[in-house]
Structure formats: C-alpha cells, structure tokens
Symmetry: C2
Subunit: 345 residues, 2 copies
DNA sequence: CATTTTTTGATGACCGTGCCTCATTTCTTG
DNA sequence: CAAGAAATGAGGCACGGTCATCAAAAAATG
C-alpha cells in the first residue's frame, strides 16, 4: 500500500524525474512521444499527485478577491460573513481571501475597484455583479488582463466571466409560482408581486418563472402588476400596505427580491397573515421568524456558505487550469417551510 | 504578508522549536506554565498550522471504512457511489476510504464485519446502522477499541457512536405532513401511509412527525393505518393498489421509506395521479421522473454527497481530536418540487 | 548537597513536489 | 559532417511541519 510518487512514474516511463516534472506541469521542451510515455505510466500506475507535497512546494498562495454589496441586506451580510469566515479557515491552505464591500448601486465605484485589480495583486475575482453595462465591461477587461472572474448570486451572462455561482432564477421563480398555486385553493385569487427592480436580471428572471407557472397551470390566479420597492424595507412595507387595502381579496404575496422585513411588517400589522400566502427569498433571521410565526409560508433560498465555497473552488480550478466539476458546483434551490428550517446557531 | 511558522511561535514564546512541537501536538513532558506561554504566542501571532506541510510530514493516512447496505435501493446506491467517488478523489489527501457493502437485514453479518475492525487496520468507521441490538453492541465494542464510529443516515442513539450524520427524521416527517396539509384542499380526506417498517427508527420518527402536524393542524385529514412494505417495490405496489381500490376517496399518499418505484407504478396505473397528492423520500431517477410526470408532488431528500463528505470530515476530526463544527455538519432536509429539481447529470 | 526525575534545547532525517541550473545527449539543418 | 537547436538527465534547494534521539538544564527528591 505504498504511495506512488513521481519517482515511480519516472522509472516506469524510463525517463528522468525532470522530464516527468516537465510533463506533469506542462512545461515546454518535451517531445510528444515522451509526453505520451509519461502519460501512460501515470495511467498505468494510477499516479495521484500528493496535494500536500504540491501545496507545500509551491510558494505562491491563491489571492482571491470577493466583491460583495454592503447594503443593509441580511443575505449579503451572510455572504460577507461566510466569505470572511473562509478567509480565516483557509489561510492554512494557501488561500488569501479578501472581502471588499462594494456599493452595488454605484456602478462607477465598482468599476473602479475592478479596474485596479491585476495579475500582480490578485489571482481571481468573485463579484456579485451589479447590473450596469460598465461593470460588464470592467469584468471583460479584468479577464483580458488574465484574471479569472466568476459572478456570484447575480449573473452577467453577456460578460466574459468564466462561471456563474448561483441559482437558476427562472427555476426559483417557477418554484415560487408552484408553491403559491398549490397552497392556494382552487378559487380565483390575486397575487401581489414585489420586486427590487425588474431591471435586475435575477428579479426579472424570477418574475418570468413565476408567471409561466401561474399562467399555464393556475389560470384562476391573477398576477397583479409588479411593484418595485428597490429592496427597501420601508418602501416595501408601504407598497404592501397599499396593496392590502386596495385588494381586500388578495390571496398571496410573492416578494421577488430582498426587503422581506417590510413585507412581513405590513402583513403582520394587517392581521391577515393567516389568509394570505406569503412566499419570499433567502433565509434570514427575519424570514425564519416569519416562517415560525406563520406569516411567511415558504422561503426559497440559496445557501451562502455553499456559494462562497463553490466560488473558491471554481476560482482555484481556474487558476490551476483544471476543469470544473460542474456537477459539484451546482447550487440548489432550497425550499424552506416552518418544518424543515435548519436549527438556529 | 509572510506566513507565521512554528519558528516564529518558538521565538515569540521564548522556547525551542521542540517545545512548540510538543505543545501543538499535545505530547507529554511539558510544564503547564510553558504550555500556556506557547498557547499565548500562538494566539498573539495568530499562528495557523500549514495543512500542507503537516499533511506531508505525517506518514500515516486516515483509513476509513464505510459500511453501506447493498440492497436494490437507489438511495443506498447513490451513497455508495458517492463514497467510492470520494475514495478516489481523496486518495491524494491521505484518505483511504474503503466502502464495504453490507446486508442490512443480516445483523450477524454486520456485527461480524464490525468485529474484525481494529485500530491496526482502520482509523474510523461510518455505518448505516441497521436496527439490531447486536449492531449497537458491535458499535460500542468498536468504540471501546478506540476506533471512532459515526452513524450515517440511520442513527443508533443509544450506542456509543460519536456522531450522527443525517437528517432529523421527525422534522422530515413534519415537513411531509405540512406539504400534504397545504397541498390538499380544506375538505376532509384520507392519507395513506406506507413505511418499510415501523421498527426502523427513521421510519418511526417520520411517522411521528407527520402525525403531529396532521393531527394538530389539519384535523380534517385522516391518517390511515401505516402499511409496512419492507421498502420493497413489489410489496409497495401491491399495498398501494389495494389502498386505492379500498379507498376511492383517498386524497394523499406518503411513502415514509424506500420502494418508491412500486408506489409510483401503482398510482400511475390507477390513473388517479392528478387527484392524489404523493409525497415520498429521496431523489432518485424514479422519483425525479415521477415529479416531472406529476405523479409525485414533492420529494423530501437528503444529499448523499453531503453526507459522505460530512462523515469524512467528522471522522477526520475525531481522529485528530479536534472539535466538530456542528454547524457545518448539519444535513439539510431538502424539499424538491418539479420546479426546483437539480439538472440531470 | 547529591541524585534522580522532569523539562527543555539542539539537531537532523524525512515527507513528495516545485522549480531552477547546468551538463549531456539526441535531433535538425545547412 | 559540423554546428546549432532541442530534448533530456542529474542534482540540489526549498517548503513547513512531524517525529525521534541525545544532551543539557532545571526542578524535585531524599
């Protein structure tokens, strides 16, 4: 049960250690025939490079930058906390994770932050991409400079980003639609929709998904015009209050974006919590409590811890030039009811 | 931004390298006062041991044994596949994962397998614990011999196992109850319950949870007597056929255990799929398809990949004598609808 | 105070790979 | 065929720990 080392590979391939090293690290100056010999020996012996030895030997650490919005948004705070936590725990694993709060509503600032990044200070960037064209351009330029970029939570499909770490928002919206359709009775009813802004891609996608399901499978339910509350609690509270009084027969509320606290407050104060199905996104202390209290009926979520870890793995893979195991990096659309809430910390 | 090494710690603490080493690896022969000095230096400098260097230096690998039932059960096959996959990928990380299929219904065989394990051949064991008392005893003896044991998926709370990797089955049952309660209309209805055996702890727990929710929150729904199909597809199919014809007004089916194929077949053939709410456990090719076809309405699942990874992490932590981050090792109760299915592989 | 015991220091040999240099061999090419 | 280019070999240092050994110093003991 002895470990197979490059020595064994060298011997088996009938070449020297140096050559094996050249082949394994794709260094130049090796004939194709020789490469093949080594490859076969690796195959034959089932050589697995020792990650410990490799990690120890290579001097450089992976310097990753995470740009995460710093607004008063519980989910973003979770993301930031997770990123910081991993920055700590991975520091023994040659990982330097820098977390930089950004102002997601100031495209120029974000662009500026991206512009100063460079191969000399950073090996990879994960960014919660605000929906501005100039941000897309900055991502592209960063990629051009040879720094791999992944988008986090919110995508920029048109950009040159190498990968997107997050959920399929159309599917998330469909899930919300399905839950409301099933939770409501067969009688006609109205569904209120609140979004941060339909200019945000993820919000628009969720809306699309929800509409698809409701229109085709629950045609007796009417989707009201989307109200945009800019993910702001106060605005949302106001919007929902007005909706509740304008539509005494309102049967469901779907908050597509953030700012659940406002929606929760409006519904709680109104006293119609039991009659109204309320579905929202992201697990936060507020949505947890609202689920427990019966104010919310379901929460659709993505695990910030998973996303941070996935982003780190993906960036590392991109740095190393090894393929990404798409399968492992798929982020699940979590559905939480009162009953399956993870225990509190 | 230089790395803090044991040298720095030694210097800061005013002791020698050897002493630092003794303290960090809890070797004997150090005064308490000295230990404290070193501890404080570690704290002060925020010394993080280099996992690569440590991994490289220590000769021994972690030899872990995974005992997983080998029946014709898609979930157990997934577990096995994941374990095998990780055995491969972790081999470069000083992890030797042996997967041993066991016959979950033959307590003596399992006991025998556990009995031959020993500190000399294995550093940790994860076992999907069949519900026999002799298995419990074998786990206890193994622990006594100094081999840490974790139970996987199905627990043995009374045993000396160090940890349980799996979901809270009462909560899972409650989730099932909630889903059915909400999916069904307010009119009276009957719910059929199928389990492998109520002698299995996880099945009994799920039943308890489901009953709690239905009885207290949906009293208009009647839970029929639990039918035990031993997780066998043919038996389950038969049972469900009979239930369907005996209860023309049946409104929901909850399969507490495995053997969904049989239940699916019975419901599909009966033609009442659209009217009957069917909730079951574990995501398999069959349950996926049933969700897509509208035969199943929700699947409650646990991620086998997570569970295997968690078990490995926990066993490693137990071997190293470091604390387990309970928070990270909590396995989520996943809820899948047609809409939020992860994409196929 | 001498002796024993405990604690600490000094040192070095690994672990498997990355990475660099220099010498040597083999292949090209005019 | 000679000269130059390309491919390969040989070897060594570094990485940051683990582990073992032996000697020296400090503390406990009678």
């Amino acid at each position: 049960m002895k470990r197979v080392t490059i020595h064994d590979v060298a011997e088996a391939a009938g070449v020297s250690l140096a050559t094996v090293d050249r082949v394994l690290n794709t260094r130049p100056g090796v004939r194709k025939a020789t490469i093949e010999k080594v490859r076969q020996a690796v195959e034959r012996l089932n050589y697995q490079p020792d990650v410990f030895a490799a990690g120890l030997a290579k001097k450089s650490a992976y310097r990753l930058h995470f740009l995460i919005p710093n607004g008063p948004n519980a989910f973003m705070e979770d993301l930031t906390r997770e990123a910081r936590a991993h920055a700590q725990s991975m520091s023994g694993a040659r990982m330097q994770v820098h977390v930089e709060p950004i102002d997601a509503f100031d495209g120029h600032r974000v662009t500026g932050t991206l512009a100063v990044l460079d191969k000399s200070v950073c090996d990879g960037v994960a960014v919660v991409a605000p929906a501005f064209p100039e941000v897309r351009a900055a991502i592209d330029r960063l990629q051009d400079r040879g720094v791999p970029v992944v988008t986090l939570v919110s995508d920029h499909p048109a950009s040159a980003r190498q990968h997107f770490v997050g959920i399929k928002n159309v599917a998330a919206g469909r899930t919300a639609g399905r839950l409301m359709g099933r939770f409501l009775s067969k009688e006609p009813g109205k569904i209120a929709l609140i979004a941060g802004s339909l200019g945000l891609r993820d919000h628009a996608d969720r809306y699309t998904g929800c509409r698809e399901v409701i229109d085709t499978e629950y045609p007796h339910l009417e989707l009201l015009k989307v109200r945009e509350g800019r993910d702001d609690n106060r605005r949302n509270e106001d919007v929902v209050r007005k909706l509740l009084s304008a539509h005494p027969d309102l049967s469901a509320v779907y908050n597509i974006g953030a700012g659940n606290r406002g929606v929760i407050a409006a519904i709680r104060d109104n006293g119609r919590a039991d009659d109204i199905v309320f579905v929202g996104h992201e697990l936060t202390p507020y949505t947890r409590q609202a689920l427990r209290d019966g104010i919310m009926d379901a929460v659709i979520a993505q695990d910030p811890g998973h996303e941070i870890r996935s982003a780190i793995r993906v960036l590392k893979a991109l740095c190393d030039g090894v393929p990404i195991i798409e399968d492992q990096e798929r982020i699940g659309i979590d559905v939480f009811l009162k009953e399956n809430l993870p225990e509190d910390v």
